[in-house]
Every structure is written in structure tokens, then in C-alpha cells.
């Protein structure tokens, strides 16, 4: 198929960006969206132009790198997938496709479609861990039984790939689904309890500091999340936060 692409080009974080039109031809419906981008880039390199910079790596839906806003949706049309899992059969011959970087004040553009998601890193560094020495002198893993239900729920929360689609889809650019998932994982496990109150307060404080907005229960984050992280995690984070605050 033949397509028109409208792509955000921006030389670096300081430059002014703009939408640029490109034509690609002979796109197979079996290609992934990123393979279509490869075809475009090969074409650009061969004609002496600069290829479009975009983040990508594992190309199997788990690394969380391939952040792109396609036709107004994080990771494009189709549900429960990342951009590398989006296939061109979702589009029609002659379509015009708009491709932009994830837009949020806390995710500054580095170049073209590449954004800086270091804000997520700093939130995790503020407390997204259990304070245990990596010494191998921990007790036997079966000494603390964990109910299957709690383990499964913790796993569901831990499935988050940190891609930022939740932030990009949110009208307030809120990071609460991401932070909620991380808080939930540890809140559900006995190992995380001792420092649970500090964890949630520190992570939320860092989240606010980074300039993410608040949650107004619109739910767009849950809809666009490639890993189906549920809004329940935000509710759990709010409960954890409230009880931490009440405890003082």
C-alpha cells in the first residue's frame, strides 16, 4: 500500500519542531509499524536526508521503548499493544498517518519522536524498591508464604513496562497509573510492608515535583495501556497514600 506520513521533526530539545509530510510506497500489510518506519528511513538515507529518530529496541512488546503517538493515540489504533506490535494491516492503502512524540511537559522531546522519560526513573529512585542488601544472605524464599491471589495481583501490577503511554493519553499528563502500579506491586507483598508509608509518600512527592498532572478518573490511561494495568492500582495508591498521611 501507499501512505502519506505526517511526522513531527525536531532537531533537538531546543529547536522548534514542525510536521513534515513523507510518502512511502509498497508497504506490505505484514510489516510492523516500526518496519514501515525502517522503510521510510532507508529511503531517506538513500536520498541523503536525515532519517527520523525514534526509540525502539526489543520489538516484541516488552522493553517499553517505542513511544509514538499515532493518529492521536499512544502506540496507535489497536488495543493492548506497543508500537512494535502494531501491524500495517490496521491501515488502508492511501491513508494519511500522523506520527508525533509523546507529549507531556515532564517528557521533553530529545529529537523527532524521541522523548526523555527520565522523570519515571527519578520517581522509582525515590522509593520504588525494597531496601534489602544484595548479599545473598536473605532467608529462604518459602519462609514467607504469599497467597496466590496476592502474588498474581502483584504480578499484574509489576507487568508495567514504563512506556509512558498512560501519561501521553491523559489530558492532565498524569503519571498515576505508572506510580500506582509500582506502589501496588510492593503494597501487595509482605516484603514491601516495612517501608510502605515512606515509599508511597516519597514516590508521590517526586511525581508532583516532576510536573505530572493529577488524576481526574477519566480512564484514558487504562484504555491505552499496552499491558492492561488497571485503574484499581490508582485507587490502591490513593488508599496507601491516605493511610500513610494519617499515620503521619
Amino acid at each position: 500500500m501507499n501512505l502519506t506520513l505526517k511526522i513531527w521533526r525536531q532537531k533537538d530539545s531546543k529547536a522548534k519542531g514542525q510536521m513534515v509530510d513523507y510518502k512511502v510506497t509498497e508497504i506490505s500489510e505484514h510489516m510492523s509499524f516500526l518496519e514501515m518506519m525502517d522503510v521510510l528511513n532507508e529511503q531517506l538515507v538513500n536520498s541523503g536526508e536525515e532519517p527520523v529518530a525514534f526509540d525502539h529496541d526489543c520489538r516484541e512488546g516488552i522493553c517499553g521503548m517505542c513511544s509514538m503517538y499515532i493518529n492521536g493515540e499512544a502506540h496507535g489504533p489497536d488495543r493492548g499493544i506497543t508500537t512494535c506490535q502494531l501491524h500495517m494491516r490496521m491501515f488502508n492503502d492511501g491513508d494519511t498517518i500522523t506520527i508525533e512524540p509523546f507529549r507531556a511537559a515532564a517528557f521533553p522531546v530529545i529529537k523527532d519522536l524521541v522523548v526523555d522519560r527520565m522523570a519515571f526513573e527519578r520517581i522509582q529512585q525515590a522509593g520504588g524498591y525494597i531496601s534489602v542488601n544484595t548479599s545473598g544472605n536473605t532467608q529462604d524464599a518459602n519462609n514467607i508464604p504469599i497467597s496466590k491471589h496476592a502474588a498474581d495481583e502483584a504480578m499484574d501490577a509489576a507487568t508495567c513496562i514504563g512506556c509512558g503511554a498512560c501519561v501521553a493519553s491523559c489530558k492532565n499528563s498524569s503519571a498515576m497509573l505508572f506510580v500506582g502500579a509500582k506502589v501496588s506491586q510492593y503494597a501487595l507483598l509482605p516484603q514491601g510492608q516495612v517501608e510502605a508509608a515512606d515509599r508511597v509518600q516519597n514516590m508521590v512527592a517526586q511525581m508532583d515535583l516532576e510536573g505530572f498532572g493529577n488524576c481526574t478518573n477519566t480512564g484514558a490511561c487504562e484504555v491505552e495501556c499496552p499491558k492492561g494495568i488497571s485503574l484499581e492500582n490508582i485507587a490502591r495508591m490513593n488508599r496507601e497514600y491516605l493511610s500513610a498521611t494519617l499515620k503521619g
Binding site: V45, C58, E60, C63, Q85, Q124, G136, I161, Q185
Partner: protein
């Protein structure tokens, strides 16, 4: 230089304990005066960085992605082995050790593998303490499953995302140390050279991938945990950015490179569909527990299927060739990865491949639906169930076991695998070869260490499922933190390593000269053009089955591609900005050298071993006729190559492998 593996003396079960009791330690107050660089932050590098920082060293960690959480360890699906014997099914350190050495076709180092098995149990404890949500049974205890090549259930798992959860565990341990200032994290940075001062690794030259700035970083020791080199084939299950550059640069500065030709070809991947394809997707090996693998018996049916005149479901049982069950009645569809991969290629090479490219076989769950369905009908007291009801009941069971994989397949291929058999084909997966290290995980450059997939020591010629994650974490959490202390104890009075020395000047100049060359070369071809060309030679002539003629041709063809690359490469943009083409150019330049050494190593190894079928070395008669023939008499050694300029001139050093605790035996799956 003679290779000294520094394996401690004494009985195998006491080696590691004795070693730890006798090494030199660094006083806690002195550790803060010592700097360590860790390159790569996946399971191996990430766990090493966290642990070294925990011990008190100043760690500088480097990753080419924007976060350690993106390292390709994250994509591992199946699980991690540990000899916990929670199931009481007879597992032990010795059994895990035995299975690993046998699975590696007797080409790994006994002492390293024993230590790996020994620390495996600690890994699980460590990860659970960090909050890794492993699967639990209804009693709240850890659940296990079984993997290919073993007779016990020792694989711990977190759904189909075990690698992700273990990596996030190591990453959270890193975050804790980053927050404390003990790890300085350099995201979006790539190591482009190692700096050797007075014969010791004392730093690296790195490029900031956002600004293009070239940076000097010094340390008392350098640890490389940068993963495998499977992308030398262009198409592989590796991440797009996975590369050999860090490992290759230390090789060029004196670290020997061992067994480069040992690459695992994984049998159950989604087949290639066209020339545009960028990577191959792996489907968990666990599918072979229930799927049956076949191709049509008759060529007319193959053609009819390819042309769309027939569907696979139109073929009756006796029109199908279940070739694994036919050739290997004892193990059937559960033969190890190397055997399954070769058999699929053999059928496709003979013309029986079932997709347009002729490179696919069927993985069929129809009989599993029926088997489980009948069982479920009995359980639920459904009398005389219709075939449709049986299938429905059976599908529900299969969905519960492998639902995420079926969904992934459907997303990529756009066919419903519940209705039609999956198509699969082998793909390049994990590299068992890598930088040569001694028992301390130190390379032949003093002070330069190599851990995880980037080194060679633990998997021999073939890696069993669920053992990659085990090695990465064992090296990073439990082995390196001890062994590196022994080396660093001599460095407590050294003080900061200056970066304004001649050695740093020279290394930086080498790096900038190369970048300037790329930016100024007025060529016409893109990096991918050369990478794909290299990949084709590698797959056709240095792939699963190899012969002397093909390998000799491959060496000269790769050399020719390399020469063309240096003449005709074209890089757009500039060097002082984010420039993905420039990044790729440096990596492909290294692959073009590594590929030739790979072929040279394969040519030298005149035996079939693990996944590496040397056509000249097959059993000629007897019950094993046509199967791979290993040659312990002449090839029970590690091939460690010393860099001498051109890859063709590399010099071979042999580390003879000793098997004192395990008897060398031919493997049979008939």
C-alpha cells in the same frame, strides 16, 4: 600468553567455598576509594552494579538505552532454574550441574558450572526478598515447572515474563543505590573503547548518545556485561540495539574471544515473512510440551498449501510427516533445541516448508485440544460429547497454559492458532561464545571482567532453557562481587585514576578518528545494507549446518563486505547530536570483524557439537546414523582467539577442558 583458568584445586563441591575463604578482601573503609565501571545494565550488569555499590565501591554504570529497565534480559519468557528441590523430586546441586554440562554437549568449564548450580538457590531467595512476584501455588509457596532437557521441576517463573521481573528486581536494587549516590548512572551512553594503563584496564571512552560528546571515565576495574552478539546475523531474537561493541573492543585490546561459533538456534520462532523484516520473535519452548510438529508427506500437498489451494487442516493424519516423532521416538517433539532446529531445517531444505518462503513447519495443537477436551468431558461428566464440544473444552485448557503466546502469534501473523496450526522456524537466539574469562570472571586483560552472556564459560555448545537468567544473576549478585575484591585489594593505595594520561588521549583519538571517518566518508550505502548482506552470508554458510567449503567462502565474502563497507558507507547528519545511523555504523563495523572470526572458529572446529552441525562430522552408521558426531579426542577444548589485526590472522589458544566429575558421553535422543 598461556591460558590459566585459575580454577581452584580440591573437590568440585568445595572449590567455591574454599576460594571465598582464602581470597583477599578490601576493608569497607577502603572500598569508597575504589571506582568500578560497569558496562551494560541487564541482568548481569545490573545485578553487579547494585551489589558492588552495596559493598561500598563507587560504581559508574553505562547503558545505551534510556533506562536499565530496557535491557534485553527483559524479553526472556520462560523462567530461571534453581536447585531448590522444593518439589522433592530429587533435584540437587549436582543434578543441575550435570544437566547443564550435558546440555552444553560437554564444552563448558566444570568448575564454573558447579558454582553456578551452587549459588542458584540463593538467587531465588534474593529475588523474592526484592519483591519479585514469582508464581505461587495455593498454599502460598513458590511454584515450579519443568523445561527441556531435564527430569525435575526446577524452573521458577513469573507468568511468561520472568526475565522482565528479574530485571526489574535488579533495576530496583540499582535504583536504591542511585538514590544513595553509590551508582552514577549513565543512560544513553555507549562504550566505544577500553583504556589500558600499565597493562591494566583503567577506564573507558564513551559517547553520550544524545549530545554526541566523547567522554573519558576512569576506574580501578572495568566490568563488561553487555550481552550477546546474535545480531551478527542481522535477523535474530535479540533487541535491535543488542551489539558486540563493548566485548569486541576489549578483544581488540587484548581480551581473548572464546568459541565465537557457538550460537544457539531456537526452534520455535515466528518465521520470516519478507526482506523488510527487522527481527524474529521467539515463542516459548514450552509450546512443544503440547504441540506436534509436522510438514506434509507429499510434495503436491506442500505446493497446494503454499498456493492456497489446500489448508493444513485438510490433510489427514497419514498425509502428515511428524518428523520429530518419526526420527526420535523416545523424545519426540521434546528433543533439545539443537536437535529440533536442525530437523526443521532439514525438512525445509528438502523442499517441504509450508509458507511462501519455504521456511516454516507446523506446530499443531489439534491433538492437544482433543486429549484435554476428552479429559475435561470426563471430569465434568459430559456424556457423548460432540467433537465441537471436545475441542471447546480442550481449547480452554490450552488457552490457560499458553494464551498469551497464542495471542502474540495472532497479532503478528493474523491467523488464529486455535483454528489452524502455527507456523514456526528456527532463529538465532543466544550466544554461548564470548569473551574468555578465568574462574574469577576476569579476561586476559588484568582488571577487565566479563559477565553474563558476554562471557563464554557456563553453557558450552548449547544452552538449556531457563539457564541464561540464572547465569546473569549468579555472576552479578554472587560471583563477581567476591572475585573482583581479590583483585582490587591490591589497589587500595592507588588513588583516583587520572584521565589526562597518554593512554586516555590515544584511546579517545582512536574513537574520534573513526567517528570522523564515518561522518566524512562520501559513500552511497546505508548501514543496514551492509548488515543485511553480512547476515545473509552468516545464515547461509555459518548457520545451523556448516561445511569446510562454505566456511572458507564465508570468510572471504565477509572480508569483501567489510572492505566495501569502509569504502562506501554513508552516514547522514552530524556527530554532535543524536544520530542512530552513526551508532549503528560503529556496531556493524565490529560485527563485520566478529563475523569473520566466527567463521574461522567454525572452520577450525571439525566436529558437530551442540547446535553446530558440521556436515563432515556425522555418524555414518548404527542407530545414530545421520546424527551429529562430537569428537572429544581432538576438540574437548575452549577455542580462545587472540586478536592480531585482521580476523583471519587471529591466533588460537586452547584451554583443554577437564571432565573429572562427569563422564563424557554421546547424547542420544532416539
Amino acid at each position: 600468553m598461556a591460558l590459566d583458568s585459575r580454577v581452584p584445586k580440591g573437590p568440585i563441591k568445595d572449590k567455591w567455598t574454599d576460594y571465598k575463604n582464602h581470597i583477599d578482601l578490601v576493608n569497607p573503609a577502603n572500598k569508597r576509594h575504589i571506582d568500578v565501571i560497569v558496562v551494560g545494565t541487564g541482568l548481569a550488569g545490573g545485578s553487579a552494579a547494585a551489589t558492588l555499590a552495596e559493598l561500598g565501591y563507587n560504581v559508574k554504570a553505562f547503558a545505551y538505552q534510556d533506562s536499565p529497565r530496557r535491557a534485553h534480559s527483559i524479553a526472556a519468557q520462560g523462567g530461571i532454574n534453581a536447585a531448590k528441590n522444593y518439589q522433592g523430586d530429587g533435584d540437587s546441586t549436582y543434578r543441575l550441574f550435570y544437566d547443564t554440562v550435558k546440555g552444553g554437549d560437554y564444552r563448558s568449564r566444570e568448575a564454573n558450572v558447579y558454582r553456578l548450580a551452587e549459588v542458584s538457590a540463593n538467587i531465588i531467595d534474593q529475588c523474592v526478598a526484592q519483591g519479585v512476584p514469582f508464581a505461587r501455588d495455593y498454599g502460598g509457596l513458590l511454584d515450579n515447572r519443568s523445561f527441556g532437557g531435564v527430569l525435575v521441576s526446577r524452573t521458577f517463573y513469573a507468568k511468561g515474563q520472568t526475565g522482565q521481573q528479574l530485571l526489574l528486581g535488579a533495576y530496583s536494587a540499582m535504583n536504591r543505590q542511585i538514590a544513595r549516590g553509590k551508582i552514577e548512572m549513565f543512560n544513553r551512553h555507549e562504550m566505544l573503547d577500553v583504556v589500558v594503563v600499565d597493562g591494566k584496564a583503567r577506564g573507558i571512552i564513551a559517547r553520550n548518545l544524545v549530545t554526541g560528546e566523547i567522554e573519558r571515565h576512569s576506574a580501578h576495574a572495568v566490568v563488561v556485561g553487555s550481552g550477546g552478539y546474535g545480531n551478527v546475523y542481522f535477523l535474530s531474537t535479540n533487541a535491535m540495539g543488542s551489539n558486540a561493541t563493548a566485548a569486541w573492543k576489549i578483544h581488540k585490546k587484548g581480551a581473548y574471544f572464546a568459541n565465537p561459533c557457538y550460537t544457539q538456534i531456537h526452534p520455535t520462532c515466528i518465521p520470516r515473512s519478507g526482506d523488510y523484516q527487522s527481527k524474529l520473535t521467539l515463542m516459548s519452548e514450552s509450546l512443544r510440551n503440547d504441540g506436534r510438529i509436522w510438514v506434509p508427506k507429499n510434495m503436491e500437498d506442500v505446493l497446494a498449501i503454499r498456493e492456497g489451494r489446500k489448508k493444513p487442516t485438510d490433510l489427514s493424519e497419514d498425509e502428515r510427516d511428524y518428523y520429530l516423532e518419526r526420527r526420535y521416538p523416545a523424545f519426540g517433539n521434546l528433543v533439545p533445541r539443537d536437535v529440533a532446529s536442525r530437523a526443521a531445517k532439514e525438512r525445509c531444505d528438502a523442499g517441504y516448508g509450508v509458507n511462501a518462503t519455504g521456511e516454516a513447519v507446523y506446530l499443531d495443537f489439534a491433538s492437544a485440544f482433543e486429549r484435554y477436551g476428552k479429559e475435561q468431558a470426563k471430569i465434568h461428566n459430559i456424556e457423548n460429547p460432540s467433537p465441537a464440544k471436545i475441542k471447546e473444552l480442550g481449547q480452554a485448557i490450552v488457552e490457560a497454559k499458553y494464551g498469551n503466546l497464542f495471542q502474540m502469534y495472532e497479532k503478528i501473523i493474523d491467523q488464529n492458532p486455535y483454528e489452524t496450526p502455527m507456523m514456526i522456524y528456527p532463529a538465532v537466539h543466544y550466544t554461548m561464545g564470548g569473551v574468555w574469562v578465568d574462574y574469577n570472571l576476569m579476561t586476559t586483560i588484568p582488571g577487565c571482567y566479563c559477565i553474563g552472556e558476554a562471557n563464554f564459560s557456563d553453557h558450552g555448545a548449547n544452552r538449556l532453557g531457563a539457564s541464561a537468567l540464572m547465569q546473569g544473576l549468579a555472576d552479578g549478585y554472587f560471583v563477581l562481587p567476591y572475585t573482583i575484591g581479590d583483585y582490587l585489594s591490591a589497589d587500595i593505595r592507588t588513588g583516583k585514576i587520572p584521565t589526562d594520561s597518554k593512554e586516555f588521549d590515544d584511546a579517545e583519538k582512536e574513537v574520534t578518528d573513526r567517528i570522523n571517518f564515518f561522518m566524512n566518508n562520501k559513500g552511497t550505502k546505508s548501514v543496514d545494507y551492509f548488515h543485511k548482506k553480512l547476515g545473509k552470508v552468516m545464515w547461509d554458510k555459518v548457520g545451523m549446518s556448516r561445511n569446510a567449503q562454505g566456511l572458507t567462502e564465508a570468510m572471504s565474502e565477509i572480508k569483501a563486505i567489510r572492505e566495501e563497507f569502509w569504502k562506501d558507507i554513508y552516514i547522514p547528519g552530524t556527530a554532535d547530536e543524536m544520530n542512530p545511523e552513526l551508532e549503528k555504523a560503529g556496531r556493524v563495523a565490529d560485527f563485520l570483524e566478529l563475523g569473520e572470526l566466527f567463521a574461522k572458529d567454525a572452520l577450525m572446529r571439525e566436529e558437530s557439537c551442540g547446535g553446530h552441525f558440521r556436515e563432515e562430522s556425522a555418524e555414518l552408521d548404527g542407530p545414530q546414523k545421520g546424527e551429529a558426531k562430537r569428537n572429544d579426542e581432538d576438540f574437548a577444548f575452549v577455542a580462545a582467539w587472540e586478536y592480531k589485526g585482521e580476523p583471519a590472522d587471529a591466533v588460537l589458544h586452547k584451554e583443554e577442558l577437564e571432565f573429572k566429575d562427569i563422564e563424557l558421553k554421546q547424547r542420544s535422543y532416539k
